[in-house]
Symmetry: D2
Subunit: 338 residues, 4 copies
């Protein structure tokens, strides 16, 4: 930690700051410049103690030197994680995994039919929402446990592991009966009660980036889950909110190499939400693989115009099928397979 004093900080103020740091059992080294004093704090500065120092008279800025996360840091494992979702492994040294399915589970027939379609095209993991976070309380809220049952049925028929969203900590026992991977949606990325709860689950967790969360915020939310003992977390970039209104969100592919340099966790990209316009999803999926994504999550619906949610961005089966060989070619071009 580095403390920079204000230009006119008094000696008495500087002494009190140094004394406070020493109370924490830390040592300091002081550099005096022309107008400011720089106090370098030596020792394993506990993170929670940074803030009160910023509030002391005479302090201009407190700059953390250490990263605020530990378990999620690349250095913690000294290598990339490989995380099992059912029988599929997701990680940096693995095939680029293809997670696909509809936004919402709408019926037993619908989810089974789409599952068979996407499996045939090349997907290896099935997604589908039974509990749906919707901006409007008047929108379709999902089929609940029935939806989970239909998902499990599709898994039995196709052999694909299933991933589904959890919105309420009280639903965990129910969802654990049916799913192979839990999804935390963007709107719940900082629902810390939920993060702690899934941190105690035996299932892996796909954690979507909040649409105004910094990459460090995302990693800190993963840290909540890891700290509870669940080391199987996947990070998912799905578009952020910016001033640009040509698309619903701005897919932030900068996130892919940056997250991979900071953490050992697999990085998933969701181009469907990231651009939100069906005709452009394929290009963004290709770009995501080129940027180094460890998995893609793509929504597919066989009749988007009657989908109960997100119909305007789901790929139709024919577009999806046509996309797969191109994804494979790009994966190979960057030394991966899919």
């Amino acid at each position: 930690m580095i403390i920079i004093t204000q230009p006119h900080a008094t000696e008495a103020q500087i002494e009190r700051i140094v004394a406070r740091v020493r109370e924490f059992g830390l040592d300091v080294q002081i550099s005096r410049g022309a107008s400011r004093v720089i106090i370098c704090v030596i020792g394993s500065a506990e993170l929670a103690k940074e803030k009160p120092l910023a509030a002391m008279p005479g302090v201009e800025a407190v700059i953390p030197v250490l990263k605020p996360y530990k378990l999620a840091a690349y250095e913690f494992r000294g290598g990339a994680s490989s995380i099992p979702i059912g029988n599929v492994k997701v990680g940096r040294t693995e095939h680029v995994a293809l997670i696909s399915g509809p936004c919402s589970v709408e019926s037993q027939e619908q989810i089974l039919s789409i599952a068979q379609t996407v499996k045939k095209a090349g997907a290896t993991i099935l997604r589908g929402g039974a509990f749906k976070p919707r901006t409007s309380p008047y929108s379709f809220q999902g089929l609940g446990e029935d939806g989970l049952r239909f998902l499990a049925h599709a898994r039995e028929e196709t052999g694909m592991p299933v991933i589904t969203e959890i919105m309420d900590p009280r639903d965990l026992p129910t969802i654990e009966k049916y799913a192979d991977c839990l999804q935390i949606g963007a709107r719940n990325m900082q629902n810390f009660s939920l993060l702690k709860e899934v941190g105690r689950s035996r299932l892996p967790v796909l954690l979507k980036r909040g649409f105004s969360a910094t990459l460090n915020d995302l990693i800190m939310s993963a840290e909540y889950i890891l700290k509870e003992g669940n080391m199987n977390v996947l990070l998912c970039e799905r578009g952020i909110r910016t001033f640009e209104n040509a698309a619903r969100y701005t897919l932030d592919l900068n996130a892919v190499p940056i997250l991979k340099s900071r953490t050992h966790l697999p990085v998933v990209v969701d181009p469907t939400h990231g651009i939100g316009l069906r005709e452009f999803v394929p290009q963004m999926a290709l770009a995501a693989v080129a940027a180094g994504a460890d998995a893609l999550m793509i929504e597919v619906h066989d009749t988007p115009e009657i989908a109960k949610s997100d119909g305007e961005q789901a790929l139709t089966p024919d577009i999806f099928e046509e996309l797969i060989p191109r994804l494979r070619a790009v994966a190979q071009a960057v030394g991966r397979s899919l």
Copy 2:
């Protein structure tokens, strides 16, 4: 609802769109321009049905004409709401309410001492967090039920109603035993399970705007609570995320008159989080009152440099006291009192 077709939409596509709209029991009126056809949908278009139409071949855009919210709309009540928090009423025709207290409840002595200080200065509602949403799992997470007890004790001693944050739907029964008003924090603004739960509470709810939520998102989240039967919701602007890094957030005071024109709900402003730098909180508090805020929420701590959270932005008691008469003068200047 208005449907605009693509420039090269075929007659068959247009016919299918019109047929789909008529299936919903709605009527249409068609305007043909040089390159596009505009389909005006007549009747009480259900909101959930907009999206599938956008996914139909030949559709360029679907533009909703009606607002997506009902119960929160200004027109619904035909006037502004006045919402009771304990013995204090908050609303547009009332005194500008002053909600104050520390970020976190830290001990029985601390909360009581600060409560007495802010009451003496002019605050009428006490705030304090017992369950704290923190970006880092290693930061102080709040005292839990002990914190609630200390809050209730401070209420008994000072007569001020108390407001405290709820993060987990399972905590509602506990919090209801102690608090006069529930707070939903910015990070949980779209935690829909939590919104539904507090919608069934007898307590009023102060709903903070997510830091990348549009004003319509905020109103839709209020609508979740209202729809469950709890009509006592207050909206709180507390700063949004932008590219500007001079302050932690950008306080969006545009929100105040816009929210007041769209809804009947009281609008609260939190200048403390909105600028996040102690020395500038007073100016933003004054600006909030001038913009028309119905209540202010200001953090005060008697020893910010040892606060367990947000010490760098809490006002000290002397700054707070000095601010009150200036707030009163601005309130009077805009035809209110405080």
Copy 3:
């Protein structure tokens, strides 16, 4: 300047970094933490040399300690500037100045009529655009020198000094013949050729913040003008681009106290562009004064529905007149006059 090394920086890398710093004639003090080395650079580090250090192997971050601006810094003058625009002074110890007029000069009659109206209501400086920066090349581009002549005529009739926008460095001699203050629009805030040119003018310059410029960017653009010898610069907040789409821009009133703490320059607020919706301009004007603005810039048009630009945000004369006494009351409430 503080240099933080990467966790695995070698001794050889650290030595090369230190050697480079010493080549600049600067001294260093080194603090060794558990995983990183912190190199505090002592001496008047030249700003332009920061970047190459960041590119050296082994460097994780270079953190400037000194502010990047000099002439604009509050400390440079040790007090606030008072800047004359014709016979009106604008600054922190002065009346809050009221700059008003139409977006564009449309005819001699129009600008004179509006000038008389706003003067009668209480404005002291007249604004009006003769060269208009428009997003579309098909929109009205301004009357050019004719517009300047009409402005000068309105000044003669009313005695109000006039402020008008300059877009092209080649127009300076012409504009100097007619205007009392130059305006640099948001889109030209980093048009450095133009900044240098107006830096050599005898006229004061009102510099509008680019709609995605940080406050430091804005101050650095002022520094360009100051460095050429023109010390009469006013900074103007006029709304930034954010994800929020309820208004055209987000008025960032945080900018007011922050700019006033960093610089000695007067801070002007333009609530008209800052919210862009006529019915809400008054509330934002009141908020700007409460936040500490040294001047307001408000568009007024007597027949907005035929205005050649920005008709939807200009106040009508009656709304403007009704606003003035409320602005005066708020100004008094915060210890100013208007």
Copy 4:
């Protein structure tokens, strides 16, 4: 154009709106819903006339149906443009062009040496700045005409056409003597005087997106150039400003397919500025090609740690060389060559 009235618009107001539209020589068709009236305007509505209608009493919203640009629209040419930069063609049906070189021209030797290096690796167009837009007036401002001479010399030696930035309309004759393509930087994207000036040049123009410009803003700025008669414009995505601070900008690859669907102009991506961190530039370059970029612009410097600008983001020659075959593989995977 569609005009939506306010819920309580009077018949008199509606009649005045309709009368105004008819004054413009346009026809209307009126749809009456439960609470609002929708007025569809038929005919080639001139864009400049939209705004005054929004200011009329009783109008809630005016929604343009036609795109605001004409010459830049894909439909205008009915196919993609191929634009010559010296002997290299850039466009959708061409090789993906590789534009490379240092940020600034620093000396005759430096630019020649880098030009030879990047040419050998596979670049076909040389970039280098002689006039530099710098946030700080104290930073290196470029070598001016000397820099242009060094660029021209490097062209003679290597045969590569050169592209360089223009910041001031008065510099056009000088730059035209030496350059093959003009660059308009992000900060000047809405410097309309400069746009008009280069619109009269015989040289092609690479127009960089302002870092808070919407895609439509970018296209409208291209329209300024096209309208003056210069049809050779290339659009360049180079990162936008968002709340994320992990990188200097957020590269918006959504822009690539969206711009290609809206315009016939080639789309260039600058991954160097788009992520701003050397170690991650290669991944973003690969992603840009996968997303469909028609050209890449990548900064290379042989000794970044002494570069006079942007040293921390320039690739070293060895990283650049190693990247090329991977770029070629991705280009092939998406049906292009490089």
